[in-house]
């Protein structure tokens, strides 16, 4: 696996350490070639965890990376305008993270925290729990309200 | 049963060339000791060659003859007196002197020893006397020792040359060997011839005649007790002569050997040289052992760090000392044997390698290696495993 910078490598290692000792340890899987993990929240919801390098940042003397946790909530929802208004409204009420969409109309819930040396373990855990909890709760709501379907979760190759 | 790894042997033999060099070094030291020791013994043994050929158990000489070659004579009458005793089979007369022999080729004169006996009497255990018995009775004849040195010139029968400025003809040869007192060679002739040439040898020697004898050789009846006979003769013969058994602890041979040991520097010089060989050996072996320890210092220190006691390392060094001492001794002995023969041929001296001398030098070699081992071992003991880190 190739890392772009040292902070990304360090973050990856710390994520690995955290995950192997956490409540996610039995469901976690690491990608072979990308610095990312998959884990399952409460047996239902797949969370994708990525470590992204941050090249342009305010601190010239150190390296930084970002941890992004995301989960796919629904696909194929309509009407689009009502969906978007709903998602933006809910964003205001949600403590950590936000709803996002992509070109194909997939609805995600994602949260990002600062990785690297200054990553806090409790913040990481709260990040994962909030993504898992919100995605689980809102998946049903959005599919009902906007006539969508469950996302086919992208499967990682089955070996660790 | 599986035993310990032979670390000493493996360390020594790992580098074939170095092992060979070590053995050569030890062998060289052994060779030095053998050669110096050999020279010393050869010089002594050579002095005794003639003596050992006497056909008799008891010797009678003038009391002033402190070594065999001092020119002092005694009265022949003493021999007749000796013959009278029970147990004495016969008493023979012998004359001996140093004279100049002219090399027939180079015309240069050299000193040789002349020994004279009655050819009819079995005075000496030299078989050639019997062979040339009749020829020796002719005037102006003699036998030449083939082991005489090269400077003496050709020694075949028929050679005519000069002895003490008088004509002499060689009628045969015999083999005995030179010694450092005479040096160049030996001539054997009849007593009659001797007295013709050498009745008067000048102021330094006693005048000779048939009434005098240089050395008396007394042959006893078989089974007679030598010591008792010596006492009998001593009590009954006057004090101007010395009576001694030839062999034994108080015998003539020992007396003669002691004389040369005490009155010359031979013993001192060659003992000193042999000691030097010994110390050369110690230094060589120490060097070999020290090099092994120094080259493998880290490995040995690691052994100590692992928990090996000092005693084990001492054992390894001592084993190495023993191995090279024994294995180096063998080539040393073999080459010494060759050199003994060569030196014997070159000098005419009698080089002899007896089992006793081999054992003595083997012990010396052991001690040599033990001493160097003990010194090298101190280096090992100071090996601090902590320094390996």
């Amino acid at each position: 696996m190739k890392f772009t910078n040292g902070a990304q490598e360090l973050t990856y290692g710390r994520l690995q350490d955290y995950l192997s000792g956490s409540l996610f340890k039995s469901t976690m899987r690491a990608s072979d070639d990308q610095p990312s993990f998959d884990l399952v929240y409460q047996d239902t919801t797949l969370i994708e965890l990525q470590v992204l390098p941050w090249d342009t940042h305010p601190y010239p003397d150190i390296e930084m990376a970002i941890v992004r946790a995301s989960s796919c909530v629904a696909i194929g929802c309509h009407p689009e305008l009502d969906l978007l208004r709903f998602l933006l409204d809910e964003n205001r009420k949600i403590r950590f993270g936000s709803f996002q969409t992509d070109d194909a109309g997939t609805v995600f819930f994602a949260n990002r925290i600062l990785g690297g040396e200054h990553m806090d373990p409790t913040e990481l855990e709260v990040c994962l729990l909030s993504v898992g909890a919100i995605a689980t709760r809102y998946s049903d709501i959005i599919i009902d309200k906007f006539d969508g379907q469950r996302a086919l979760n992208s499967a990682l190759p089955s070996k660790l | 049963m599986i035993k310990r790894i032979p670390l000493a042997w493996l360390n020594l033999t790992h580098d074939r060339r170095r092992f060979a060099t070590s053995l050569a070094g030890v062998g060289f030291a052994v060779l030095l000791m053998f050669m110096f020791n050999g020279f010393m013994n050869a010089l002594y043994d050579s002095q005794l060659q003639l003596l050992n050929r006497f056909n008799g158990e008891i010797i009678i000489v003038n009391r002033l003859r402190t070594n065999m070659f001092v020119p002092r004579a005694f009265a022949r009458r003493r021999l007749y007196q000796a013959r009278a005793f029970d147990g004495v089979q016969d008493a023979y007369a012998m004359y001996i002197s140093e004279v100049n022999w002219k090399n027939p080729e180079t015309r240069k004169s050299r000193g040789v020893r002349v020994i004279a006996i009655n050819p009819d009497e079995p005075v000496l255990n030299i078989p050639e006397i019997e062979t040339y018995q009749q020829l020796l009775k002719l005037p102006e004849t003699a036998l030449m020792d083939t082991k005489s040195r090269v400077e003496v010139g050709p020694v075949e029968p028929g050679i005519i040359s000069e002895l003490a400025d008088r004509r002499i003809r060689l009628v045969g040869t015999f083999t005995m060997g030179t010694d450092f007192a005479s040096g160049n060679g030996n001539l054997l002739m009849s007593d009659q011839n001797f007295l013709r040439y050498f009745a008067d040898r000048g102021p330094e020697e006693d005048k000779r005649s048939f009434a005098t004898v240089d050395i008396g050789v007394v042959k006893l009846e078989p089974g007679t007790n030598v010591e008792r006979m010596v006492n009998v003769l001593r009590e009954n013969l006057p004090n101007d002569v010395l009576v001694m058994a030839r062999d034994g602890d108080n015998g003539f041979v020992i007396r003669e050997r002691n004389y040369w040991q005490e009155n010359t520097n031979i013993g001192f010089v060659f003992s000193l040289l042999t000691s030097m060989g010994f110390f050369v050996g110690i230094i060589l072996v120490y060097q070999i052992l020290y090099t092994d320890v120094a080259d493998h210092w880290a490995e040995y220190a690691t052994l100590k760090a692992m928990g090996y006691k000092n005693g084990y390392l001492l054992g390894v060094v001592m084993q190495e000392a023993m191995i090279i001492s024994v294995l180096g001794f063998i080539p040393g002995v073999l080459v010494s044997q060759l050199l003994y023969t060569a030196a014997g041929n070159a000098t005419g001296l009698f080089f002899q390698m007896t089992p006793e001398r081999i054992v003595n030098l083997l012990i010396a070699t052991f001690i040599m290696c033990l001493v160097s081992g003990a010194i090298a071992v101190r280096k090992v003991q100071t090996t601090d495993p902590a320094d390996v880190f």
């Binding site: 290692g13 710390r14 350490d17 955290y18 000792g21 409540l23 009420k93 949600i94 403590r95 950590f96 993270g97 990553m119 373990p121 409790t122 855990e125 729990l129 909030s130 898992g132 909890a133 919100i134 689980t136 709760r137 809102y138 | 049963m1 599986i2 035993k3 310990r4 790894i5 670390l7 493996l10 360390n11 033999t13 790992h14 493998h296 880290a298 490995e299 220190a301 690691t302 052994l303 100590k304 760090a305 692992m306 928990g307 090996y308 006691k309 601090d384 495993p385 902590a386 390996v388 880190f389």
Partner: protein, 262 residues
Amino acid sequence: MVKTQPQSTFDPPRDDLAVHIQHLNYFFGAGDLSKQVLFDISLDLPKGQIVILTGPSGSGKTTLLTLAGALRRLQDGSLRVLGKELVGLGDRALVNVRRNIGFIFQAHNLFESLTASQNVEMAVELTGNFSSKRDQAVAMLSALGLADRVDYKPQSLSGGQKQRVAIARALVNHPQLILADEPTAALDKKSGRDVVTYLHNLSRQEGCTVLMVTHDNRILDVADRIINLVDGRLESDSTPNAFVHSKTQEAIAEVSADMFIM
């Protein structure tokens, strides 16, 4: 015998510690030339821990390692190794303690005249197991991937292989304490990694304690604990996996989405 502080001023021995150091001071040389290299070191190494000792050169870390290895005589303080107090012990007693410790040096220090197996057997002979020494040596060498090299002499082995033979020699008697001084310095990245992985697994499986002096940043992650020594003093003592350990262990209640919605 040398003067020591009265043992009553030190804590009593503890069963769970492989190495127990209290107020250790160490001096090189004597008299006017005496130079202090370790200042009031106190350290507890539990059994089964993998500890890396690091610091600038001259900081005394190698000295501390040699003291823990019973290679030097000690005068001042308390140093218990595998339950045995080393301060005040004479040379003979120290030699006996060393037999329970496995040393891995930076240089392999193998005998050129012995095969790999024989080098390892030298360690087994210390225990008196003459009949099984060959089997033990071969087993150990095989565990380190050298099964096909057991009868080769060092001159026919690569640098990494030689170091592995040295490690086999250090570990063949399954010592409870392993002391290593820059074990990977002469090795390439892969060989170095293999060696520390082996030590890590060994420690986890057999519960032996590993104390390693190293500058090699590539292998720091294998340690449970990193101790930093500067100018003879303990500067820091931390775990490399501090990220996880720094998290306070609160209990997680049943998580509900309501927690994240205002």
